[in-house]
């Protein structure tokens, strides 16, 4: 059996693969660089909070097995299922911000 050239596999299949979830480990967001003292006095333009934009509940039906897989994948990525789904949609172009990925359960506790 001849040695196979695998160079084109990634290129040929990237479109098909892009429809699938990634397994890439989630990289933690880089720590914010501390602002110089002189800039701290400047008031940052407040971003609209989720409350201002109106957070809505969104329910999703899926097979039990899928729900289990989602829970496992999210747990492996140390994320909530909500954050995991949003993160995946972000890769598809949804405008997801860092604060959208905050674990809301911790806030409620």
């Amino acid at each position: 059996m001849a040695k196979k050239d695998l160079a084109s596999v990634t290129t040929d299949l990237s479109a098909l693969a892009s429809m699938m979830p990634t397994q890439r480990p989630v990289v933690a967001a880089p720590r914010a660089v501390e602002q110089p003292v002189e800039l701290r006095a400047l008031k940052a333009v407040p971003k609209p909070t989720q409350e201002e934009e109106g957070v809505i509940q969104f329910s999703l039906s899926m097979r039990k097995e899928l729900r289990k897989q989602l829970a496992r994948l999210a747990s492996d990525a140390d994320m909530t299922m909500r954050a995991f789904v949003l993160n995946a949609l972000k890769e598809k172009g949804l405008s997801v911000r860092e604060d959208d990925l905050v674990d809301l359960r911790r806030e409620r506790r």
Binding site: V9, D12, L13, S18, P21, Q69
Partner: protein, 216 residues
């Protein structure tokens, strides 16, 4: 110089068991064997590193941007590379399929196994079309219980779905389960025979370097 990918989007179908059987038995035959473990649970990696008594190289790689280069690197230095994928549809699985000479799609005796096997075989067909080359795919029945209604039903469903199927069926045998603790692939008894028949069939499909003298 061959690459065998084991894939199905259903978890617990027997992917890692098949990977162990192929790798262990081929290493006994003197082939240089390597595994790429693309499963979150890294069960195959753990087995190779902690239990296996066979000479197998293993790398755990979940990152789809890396998997082709890892397979390629191991392919350069080994006779056979087996890629064990995650039990869920994922980008890494697509690329692992793209690298393969043969994709084995295990199914156990449940309807979910058949549903996911159909999806996986369709995925392999799509990958073949996009790469403009055929990737051989075969469904393989695992944890098969001969003489039961459920096994007969599964066989009927597989035929109805026109899935390409391996003749060998791996039975639900204690020896296959013991392998996870003993680190040894069975070489005797029914389990040993089924393991040998599995490799014979893989060889007949042209997915092993030739000539391979399989250890008996």
């Amino acid at each position: 110089m061959s690459i065998i990918t084991i894939a199905t989007s259903k978890g617990g179908a027997g992917k890692t068991t098949i990977a162990r059987l192929i790798l262990g038995r081929l290493s006994l035959s003197g082939l240089r064997t390597a595994a790429v473990d693309a499963d979150f649970n890294h069960t195959l990696t753990d087995w190779v590193r902690t239990a296996s008594k066979h000479a197998i190289t293993v790398e755990n790689e979940l990152d789809e941007t890396q998997i082709v280069s890892v397979v390629s690197r191991l392919h350069d230095a080994h006779d056979v590379v087996v890629v064990d994928t995650a039990g869920a549809a994922a980008q890494a699985t697509i690329f692992a399929i793209g690298c393969a000479d043969l994709v084995l799609v295990p199914i156990q005796t449940s309807s979910a196994d058949i549903v996911e096997a159909i999806k996986t075989v369709n995925l392999i067909k799509s990958a073949s079309l996009m790469m403009k080359r055929d990737v051989t795919a075969r469904v393989i029945m695992t944890a098969y219980q001969p003489g039961t209604n459920i096994s007969a039903h599964i066989e009927k469903e597989v035929a109805k779905a026109e899935l390409p199927v391996m003749e060998i069926k791996l039975h639900r045998l204690v020896a296959f389960q013991e392998m996870s603790f003993t680190g040894l692939v069975p070489t005797s008894g029914l389990a040993g025979l089924q393991c040998m028949n599995l490799l014979d069939e893989i060889q007949a499909l042209g997915a092993l370097p030739e000539p391979v003298k399989l250890a008996s």
